[in-house]
């Protein structure tokens, strides 16, 4: 097996995946017939309007809720066959709106990412400390490692959460809207950081985002959920298919294929 082959191996795949929730008497389907393959070293954006099922897809991929049908494979293993206990060494999460305590130092919070590997007391080994330090330097926070998270700005805290996922040292990282609450500079900065991470560490990142314009410029692939249908491909493939044309109501927002950006339609009257 050549290293060339290894570098582009399929890390996460979904085949004829149907998403939704089972309630007592009815099944609520959110999106159907999803197929995609994410390879190592790829940055993939998950795009869709509010309520389109981005979170449901992320929850399904991270094993929090079961799929209605179809299968998800991580590193050639069926997700449904993985025990909760082992999942932590395959994928890590960066979430928004979790009640994360900020009364921890940056170092302490990032070190919690080593949870799946530490002993019963959570004692850090030399390897753990090394990985934590590496994660901190990847997000450029090594200077602040003894600061309390409480004293950080939102942008810095987001970097801490990303560092925690990096310290967990999984081949796949799933992120739910990693750029919410951030200003335009920090949005671009965080996405650029993700790009650097996948290129330098051979990890794959799938992130849900509303930053379509930035994602189109930056990502290797895009998963687009639009009215229950799912498209998958490189940004230019999706643009050629015209997949973005129907995402928003055309009388408000239009997609300009030349500049690859969405623009507001200014009402003239």
């Amino acid at each position: 097996m050549s290293s060339e082959f290894n570098q582009s191996k399929i890390l996460l795949s979904a085949s004829s995946l149907n998403l939704g929730y089972k309630e007592k008497r009815s099944v609520i389907s959110v999106a159907e017939a999803i197929n995609f393959e994410i390879k190592t070293g790829e940055l993939v954006a998950l795009i869709g309007i509010n309520g389109s099922g981005k979170s449901t897809l992320l929850k399904t991929l991270s094993g929090q809720i079961p799929a209605l049908s179809g299968e998800v494979k991580i590193d050639n293993q069926l997700l449904s066959g993985l025990h909760d206990k082992n999942l932590g060494s395959y994928l890590s999460l960066v979430l928004t709106n979790e009640p994360v305590s900020r009364q921890l130092t940056v170092m302490e919070l990032v070190a919690l990412g080593r949870h799946p590997y530490t002993n019963w007391m959570g004692q850090l080994s030399e390897i753990d400390v090394e990985k934590v330090n590496k994660a901190l330097s990847q997000v450029d926070l090594i200077q602040k490692k003894d600061k309390l998270c409480d004293s950080l700005s939102d942008g810095q805290f987001q970097k801490v959460l990303i560092a925690r996922a990096l310290a967990q040292d999984t081949p796949l990282i799933l992120m739910d809207e990693p750029t919410t609450h951030l200003d335009m500079f920090h949005k671009a900065y965080v996405l650029q950081l993700l790009k650097t991470i996948v290129k330098t560490s051979q990890k794959s990142i799938l992130f849900a985002s509303h930053e379509i314009n930035l994602a189109l410029q930056l990502c290797d692939k895009i998963i687009l959920i639009d009215k229950g249908k799912v498209d998958f491909g490189t940004p230019s493939e999706l643009i050629q298919k015209g997949a973005f044309k129907t995402l928003f109501p055309a009388d408000f927002i239009v997609f300009d294929e030349v500049s690859k950006t969405f623009r507001m339609r200014i009402q003239d009257d």
Partner: protein, 340 residues
């Protein structure tokens, strides 16, 4: 690590001072020298003093330490489990369960007195019914804990159980005689004294078991600081962990309530007080600090309850709140912020 070692060492010194003060204060004044002598098994001239120290003050001091630290640790566990600063050892309805048990014993006694006679009014009957009540509530909460997905739901169910049981207690109180009512109210005042060495032994055993459970949960408690979704993604088995935490709390707070009555405030406040001193939420540092902090606060409240220089004592349950609440308010105003 060395910084937290110094912190713990200082707390230990304060605890020792507290122990000596609590042993030397009481309605009978005994010189320091004689207290130390009797503690180390040397005979002293006044055998009454020796009796007071060995059979009254020493068990009470140990009880204060066990109950203060036990309640505080269970407060910490609940605050982390629910990620809610208002949670305390009693949010799951443990003390209301105990109150219900004791209320049934005391105020329902007239119905049963034919069978049980004198036993009804003995200390053991109260301890048994308090633990029975707590145990029942705990089992109910545990069975819910296995069913609900969301910890917040559990918190609300605990509060509902508490108001349900207090309503039943009110109904019982309404139909009971003033004698019975007085007996019940005296129990609810709480008391650290009156424990024999045998009872102190049982309490220590419960304390040790409950604390072992807590130590076993330390790593997962830290993971819970990130919220349940993160914890689960790192391999924490949420339900199993939740049940371990509830069992630990029930043993610690349940035994404290059974032996000393429903002591309010300590379990809720000590974790917050300690967080002001120890600037971290790492449970491996917090847990020992809170054990010391809880023991110190309880000893302090016990000393105040003695009303040094007088012969009367105040109910411990009142003292913890009267003197504790202003301290917490003052600390929060000074820091302007809850370190949670």
């Amino acid at each position: 690590m060395s910084k937290s070692f110094i912190n713990h060492f200082l707390l230990f010194i304060v605890l020792l001072v507290g122990v000596v003060m609590s042993l030397s204060l009481g309605s009978v004044s005994i010189p320091f020298e004689d207290i130390f002598k009797s503690l180390f098994g040397l005979s002293i001239e006044n055998s009454t003093w020796e009796y007071i120290i060995v059979n009254y003050r020493l068990p009470k001091t140990i009880t204060a330490i066990l109950i203060g630290s036990g309640l505080s640790v269970s407060g910490l566990l609940m605050q982390t489990l629910f990620r809610n600063p208002l949670a305390g050892p009693y949010v799951l309805g443990l003390s209301s369960g105990a109150s219900l048990g004791v209320a049934f014993l005391i105020m329902g006694a007239s119905l049963l007195s034919g069978f049980l006679g004198e036993f009804l009014y003995s200390k053991w009957a109260i301890i048994l019914s308090a633990s029975g009540g707590s145990l029942l509530v705990m089992l109910a909460v545990l069975s819910t804990a296995q069913r609900v997905k969301d910890t917040m739901t559990l918190l609300i169910i605990g509060l509902m159980v508490a108001s349900l049981t207090s309503a039943i207690v009110s109904v019982l109180a309404y139909f009971s005689s003033s004698n019975e009512l007085q007996l019940y109210i005296f129990w609810s005042f709480g008391s650290l004294g009156n424990l024999s060495w045998k009872e102190v032994g049982i309490l220590s055993l419960c304390w040790f078991i409950g604390l072992s459970f807590a130590v076993f949960c330390l790593k997962n408690l830290n993971a819970l600081l990130l919220g349940e979704n993160y914890a689960k993604s790192m391999g924490v088995q949420l339900k199993k962990n939740r049940i371990l935490i509830i069992v630990s709390t029930s043993i610690l707070a349940g035994s404290a309530t059974a032996f000393a009555g429903p002591i309010a405030f300590v379990g809720l406040a000590v974790p917050h007080l300690v967080r002001q001193l120890v600037p971290t939420n790492d449970h491996r540092v917090l847990l020992p600090s809170i054990i010391f902090g809880g023991a110190i606060l309880m000893l302090l409240c016990d000393i105040i309850a003695q009303l040094p220089g007088t012969e009367s004592t105040l109910p411990i349950n009142a003292v913890t709140s009267i003197f504790g609440a202003p301290v917490v308010i003052w600390l929060l105003l000074r820091k302007r912020k809850l370190n949670f």
